[in-house]
Symmetry: C2
Subunit: 216 residues, 2 copies
């Protein structure tokens, strides 16, 4: 194919994706379900963070769990009583709105409350696709260093809430908080940033409160 045809095909795919995402978002709103697209690199601590939030939020939490392979995270969430639907993409590097619409149809019914969609562990591709969410939550690990906003700007530009997880390892990993925050501020001045340890619980009360205040 020629390059212009490639671009045209990509534009069509993105338009179709956005249209389905908007339909999903409206249908969830009508049912009183506030949907959060959870993005982050592999090992940022997405499942641990969802677990910590589920324990603190006042309404029912349901999770759609996106993984290339395995149901490790689904088992962890089920173990604490969170209803979870597994999507395995078998190679695909992000979730898209048709696969989410299909998963929601498959569930039959979701209780009003919060629906977390844990995206594929990838700091690049998921940020390009709306999947029906009301907000985007980005989780980054302090142990992965402070230059991420400069190297992977789109995810930081799109996120409403950014949780800097494993903050207890920040000093050991030479995490430069000022440099990190400067990198976010030039991309997205209004993003809320909270330093947390999802495993130990630090910062998670504040994160849950921020979500509750924000949700309808």
């Amino acid at each position: 194919m020629s390059e212009s045809k490639d671009i045209k095909v990509m534009e069509n795919i993105m338009d179709k994706n956005d249209a389905i995402a908007l339909d999903t978002q409206k249908a969830l709103s009508d049912k009183g379900i506030f949907c959060i697209n959870v993005m982050g690199a592999p090992g940022a601590g997405k499942t641990t963070t969802i677990t910590a939030l589920a324990k603190r939020l006042s309404r029912q939490v349901t999770v759609i769990e996106g993984d290339i392979e395995s149901d490790i995270d689904t088992k962890a969430l089920n173990a604490i009583g969170v209803p979870t639907v597994q999507i395995n993409t078998h190679g695909a590097c992000h979730l898209d709105s048709p696969s989410i619409a299909q998963a929601i149809d498959g569930i039959g019914g979701i209780n009003p409350g919060y629906l977390f969609i844990e995206n594929i562990g990838n700091l690049v591709c998921p940020a390009e696709f709306n999947i029906g969410e009301h907000m985007k939550l980005l989780i980054v690990s302090a142990a992965d260093g402070s230059d991420k906003p400069y190297k992977y700007p789109l995810a930081f530009e799109k996120a409403d809430l950014i949780l800097v997880n494993k903050y207890d390892l920040a000093a050991l990993a030479d995490f430069d908080e000022d440099y990190f925050l400067q990198g976010i501020r030039r991309l997205h001045p209004d993003a809320k940033v909270i330093m947390v340890s999802a495993k130990k619980g630090e910062g998670m009360d504040e994160a849950a409160k921020w979500l509750e205040d924000r949700a309808f």
Copy 2:
């Protein structure tokens, strides 16, 4: 497009990519350049590892530095005297063989020795594309947890050498080494795995020696 047309287009892209990769590999071999495709998630420590190897290897090291945005890593490598060529993909989530062939042409000439190609920080997509390398080096951070081989199998299946970086943080991050190694062994029994701290130097002599023994 229909699904079968989508698949056909993808197959054509992959065939073309592999053909160019093979040409690049042959051209590099003829010039005495051993090429290493460096893969890993964001924050795994790819640049720090290349730096630690460059200090230990007996022949000239050149780097092609792949980033979505920024030249932070190129500046770090230049600061220690390693000649580096920056590729910014402006969104694309992996390097492919045409972009590498073009970058090598652009350099004019590379000294015999080692050519490291630092791929985009992404544990998913780069593993699908040969780019002209003689071997694949995967770097994972112990701070990102021990379930990665189960969740992101392709990168572990394809890697010749796997360096588990930030091993000094393993205990703090509850890194389960047996579980991690089991996950690799069922995918790729012959992969060489070394625990390292690229920043502190632990394990890096062994890694450099393994590379020297392997290279032509």
